[in-house]
């Protein structure tokens, strides 16, 4: 139980001092980070983060991280998959950091340049596209002006606006030369306001024609598609021209120079077309280039990220060290498990070899401080250890409840969840998660609920398997019973008796009861009986109390190992023995009464032990505690179950009551006596040394004496609390275990309701319609079974089992006020950084 590296007790830890040479500090810390077994203490707690020694390096790492995250974002934007080879690159040397920085800088600049180029190209593309549209649409406008059509037909193709004022008539053609125009493109939604403004500002002396551009154009800044319209404004005179231009600028319409002559316009349109084609080619080449850059970066980006994180964590750790000016080195203080001192030495040697300097020195210090608690777990035991640590981390080197919890937790859960069918569902789910462990854990998701389920996959598997076993014993499969071995009850009634509606089987009748029980589990006859709740209640209450008392006794006995390890023999005599006696005299006796009643009383035999003579154990127990006087036996039945019961009960009660002052007073009294003897001895020694030290010693002895008085008060209070907690707790905790009965009953009843009210509807409908109905109703029944019975009840039973362990079991022996060992390990740091990553 005290072997090194076992789960039963936390590991022995050593506080060590490390002397590292400046050159080798980095590599040594890197090696220790890979090893992951050393917890460094911060030797500069008062120093501001910005005044630490390696703050510049940390800043550089932050810069690199920022650049890498920018790259990552761009990669993700393009939808390029990031390759995760699962490799673990080593932390690079400090001089390689510069190479990395340069590389990242280059990549970032390249990407930024490509992006800005692409943006400029897109802007150009947009302008050219708009110009193309303008040239196309204005052609129509000018045509109209040249050859004014019959207005009704041709106009409704381009615009639907009533505010358009047609200033041009047939006769004003020759005045075209003096008419100026402005062509441009504007956002479609701004057109109504634009027109109104033009109308008001120019007092109706301008002529606006507009046409929508059918396909949306890409806005280069935001990248989103917008709808625009082409417009052309005709006016006369410079004054109006300035006004129109100002209004266009105000509405952010882009204006384009449009030649008047149709031939020029056609030439321009062709030029624009060729330029657009060229631009398209250049744009696609730019995108390709960007894609290539990102793809090549995506190959290495994971490894780079990990390297940067490692460097940063190394420098953070180095910041915790003290500078040793004399020997030009760094001093570090750390907690190391004693079993791993060799491994740490090897890692340090590797580190110093890599950097080629003097070896590092590891000194073990002795300290009064309480070391951290380290439990060495594997993937299976880790989940159970987490359950225990959630309540409180164990004190240094005290008994760890986890190895026992591995089995007691699923077992107590199964008592409350006992259904073979639901157990199968749970076990299959757990088995699937365990079987597909590796691929499922490689998928990193943010889904909190899935992570919780997956983290507890072994717990779920064990809970399911034990639930299958208890389901077989309770003989409950989705609220139906198996009849494998043949029931021990036989309703041997003849036909005339069958006319009465309810018939009760008599256990004393050899024809009706086989006189030996169903060999494995509850008899299937009870599942179809009317009074099954009666029978189940008495059974389940008894087993709840029995398992509860055994669980608590186990907890009390575990405390002996703690007392022996920490060398507290007084606690064994003053705490453990009265606790054990109290629990056994009252509650173990109760269990023995249960066993006695099971074997002694039965039907069909001696009338003094027949069922109507069987006393209630609860009443017996209550009367024992209330000190009821002796009762004479009746003509047939006796009040007592065995001879001498009255005397035995009185004796046990007295012993139990005596345990209370024993727990309360023995330890303070002994401590008081010990301190008295010690002060007497100290005063005797102090009297001899009075010549040298004068009154100081006597004063010190007096001070110690008053300190003892003060301590005595505290000890008494502490012991009083402990006693009351234990005595009252033993009663309340025993009753608390009745939740095993309560939840088991609720589960069975829910299961039965679901069957009777849901599935039975389909099963009792006859004919083909019944088949289809059953098919549909099965879906409902299955959904409700999984949602309510497996998930909700499972969660509920899990919670209650957790409470039983944390409070009823652990309060008998567990301290739980330690702090956990958190080693400097790259594994955990990388995991944390990755999980924090996507949120940024």
């Amino acid at each position: 139980m005290t072997t090194m590296g076992s789960l039963f007790r936390s590991e022995e830890m050593a506080l060590c001092q490390l002397f590292l040479q400046s050159e080798s500090a980095y590599t040594c810390v890197s090696e220790l980070g890979e090893l992951g077994l050393v917890q460094f203490r911060d030797l500069n707690p008062d120093v501001n983060a910005f005044q630490r020694k390696f703050v510049n390096e940390v800043r550089r790492c932050d810069e690199m991280e920022r650049k890498l995250r920018y790259l990552e974002r761009e990669i993700r934007k393009d939808g390029i998959p990031v390759l995760d080879t699962g490799e673990n690159p080593e932390a690079p040397m400090p001089r390689e950091m510069i190479d990395l920085e340069v590389k990242f800088e280059k990549l970032e600049n390249e990407l930024k340049e490509v992006n800005s180029n692409a943006e400029a190209l897109k802007r150009n593309y947009l302008e050219l596209t708009e110009l193309k549209h303008i040239l196309k649409k204005t052609q129509v406008f000018f045509d109209e002006a040249m050859y004014p059509p019959n207005l009704p037909y041709d106009q409704d193709v381009y615009f639907d606006d009533d505010e358009q004022v047609n200033l041009l008539t047939d006769t004003s053609l020759h005045q075209l030369k003096h008419i100026g125009f402005v062509a441009g493109v504007i956002l479609r939604e701004r057109i109504p306001a634009f027109e109104r403004m033009l109308w008001r500002a120019c007092r109706g002396n301008v002529f606006l024609r507009q046409a929508e551009i059918s396909e949306p154009l890409e806005d280069p800044a935001t990248g989103e598609q917008v709808y625009k319209s082409v417009f052309i404004i005709f006016f006369q005179g410079d004054h109006l021209k300035m006004r129109v231009k100002k209004i266009c600028e105000g509405f952010r319409a882009t204006m384009y120079p449009c030649p008047e002559a149709p031939a020029d316009r056609r030439e321009m349109a062709m030029g624009v077309k060729t330029r657009l084609d060229d631009l398209n080619t250049v744009l696609s080449q730019t995108q390709d280039h960007r894609h290539r850059v990102l793809v090549s970066a995506a190959r290495d980006i994971r490894a780079w990220m990990m390297k940067v994180w490692k460097i940063k964590s190394i420098y953070h750790t180095l910041n915790m060290f003290n500078l040793d000016v004399i020997q030009n080195g760094l001093i570090a203080e750390c907690w190391i498990p004693v079993a791993n001192l060799e491994d740490v030495q090897l890692a340090l040697r590797r580190g110093t070899e890599k950097s080629g300097s003097l070896p590092a020195i590891l000194n073990r210090l002795s300290t009064q401080e309480s070391p951290p608690t380290f439990h060495r777990t594997n993937k299976f035991t880790k989940a159970f250890q987490t359950l225990i640590d959630s309540y409180g981390v164990a004190n240094y080197r005290e008994i760890n409840p986890a190895p026992y919890t591995i089995i007691t937790f699923p077992f107590l859960f199964a008592i409350m969840f006992g259904d073979f069918g639901h157990g199968i569902i749970m076990a299959l789910f757990g088995a699937w998660m365990v079987w597909r462990e590796k691929p499922l854990s490689a998928k990193k998701t943010d889904n909190e609920i899935w992570n919780i389920f997956f983290g507890g996959r072994y717990i779920i598997l064990l809970m399911g398997v034990f639930s299958m076993y208890t389901g077989l014993i309770y003989n409950d499969v989705f609220s139906k019973a198996f009849n494998i071995f043949g029931s021990s009850w036989h309703p041997a009634f003849n036909n005339s008796v069958l006319m009465s509606k309810e018939l009760t089987l008599d256990p004393g009748n050899k024809e009706q009861y086989d006189q030996y029980p169903y060999p494995f589990g509850l008899d299937p006859m009870w599942q179809i009986a009317n009074n099954k709740i009666n029978f189940y209640n008495s059974y389940k209450m008894k087993i709840s109390i029995i398992f509860g008392v055994i669980h608590m006794l186990f907890g009390v006995i575990l405390s002996v190992w703690n007392h022996r390890f920490f060398n507290r023999p007084m606690s064994i005599y003053c705490e453990f023995i009265p606790q054990l006696l109290f629990l056994c005299c009252l509650f173990l006796y109760l269990i023995l009464l249960v066993f006695h009643k099971w074997t002694w009383y039965g039907a069909g035999g001696d009338p003094s032990v027949s069922p109507n003579c069987a006393p209630s154990i609860l009443i017996t127990f209550i009367n024992m505690v209330l000190v009821k006087p002796y009762e004479e036996p009746g003509p047939v039945c006796s009040y007592y179950m065995f001879a001498g019961q009255f005397g035995l009960q009185r004796f046990l009660l007295i012993v139990a009551l005596l345990c209370v002052p024993w727990m309360l007073c023995a330890k303070p009294f002994l401590l008081h006596r010990m301190h008295k003897q010690r002060t007497i001895m100290m005063q005797a020694n102090g009297g001899e040394g009075v010549v040298e030290e004068g009154g100081g010693d006597a004063a010190a002895a007096a001070a110690v004496a008053t300190a003892e008085e003060h301590d005595m008060g505290e000890v008494m209070i502490h012991q009083g609390i402990h006693t009351i907690e234990y005595v009252l707790g033993s009663v309340s905790h025993t009753a608390s275990y009745l939740r095993l009965w309560a939840l088991s009953l609720a589960h069975a009843q829910l299961s039965e309701v679901l069957w009777q009210m849901v599935l039975r509807i389909g099963l009792t409908t006859s004919g083909l319609a019944g088949g289809f109905l059953t098919y549909a109703i099965f879906a409902v029944w299955a959904f409700l079974t999984v949602a309510i019975l497996v998930l909700m009840e499972g969660l509920s039973a899990f919670l209650h089992t957790l409470r039983l362990h944390w409070v009823e079991f652990q309060s008998k022996f567990y301290g739980g006020t330690g702090y956990a060992f958190v080693p400097f390990a790259f594994e955990t740091i990388l995991d944390q950084a990755e999980n924090a990553g996507p949120e940024q």
């Binding site: 072997t3 076992s6 789960l7 039963f8 035991t381 190895p403 026992y404 591995i406 089995i407 007691t408 077992f411 008592i415 014993i473 009849n483 043949g486 029931s487 021990s488 009850w489 036989h490 309703p491 041997a492 036909n495 005339s496 069958l498 006319m499 009465s500 509606k501 309810e502 018939l503 089987l505 008599d506 256990p507 009706q512 009861y513 006189q515 030996y516 029980p517 169903y518 060999p519 494995f520 589990g521 006859m525 179809i528 009986a529 009317n530 009074n531 029978f535 008495s538 059974y539 008894k542 087993i543 029995i546 398992f547 055994i550 066993f595 099971w598 074997t599 039965g602 069922p611 069987a614």
Partner: protein, 102 residues
């Protein structure tokens, strides 16, 4: 004492092997202590659970109370003390109803 020796021996023997014999066989490697503790606790608690169920049913103080229809079904399906010959058919309103001959 209504007990069946075979059932007790088989079940007790099985869990005794789990709790007493297997820890020596399976207790290997770095997790020896944990595996042994797991086997012992499993064996003990599962055996105790079975034992409590068995002992509660050894000398029952009450018997199951059944509907007469349930009794009939059991006699027909499980015990075989009632067969199809014990029924006659009586004409009902729309179907024939099997009725027990008394």
């Amino acid at each position: 004492m209504g007990a069946d020796a075979v059932a007790i021996c088989v079940v007790t023997g099985f869990w005794a092997i789990v709790a007493i014999v297997l820890p020596f066989i399976l207790g290997r490697g770095p997790n020896k202590g944990v595996i042994q503790v797991m086997l012992v606790i499993t064996g003990f608690s599962c055996w105790l659970f079975w034992l409590l169920c068995y002992m509660h049913q050894m000398n029952p103080l009450i018997g199951p109370q059944l509907h007469n229809t349930t009794v009939l079904a059991i006699q027909y399906l499980w015990d075989g003390s009632v067969t199809i010959d014990d029924f006659t058919t009586v004409a009902g309103e729309s179907t024939t109803i099997p009725t027990l001959k008394i």
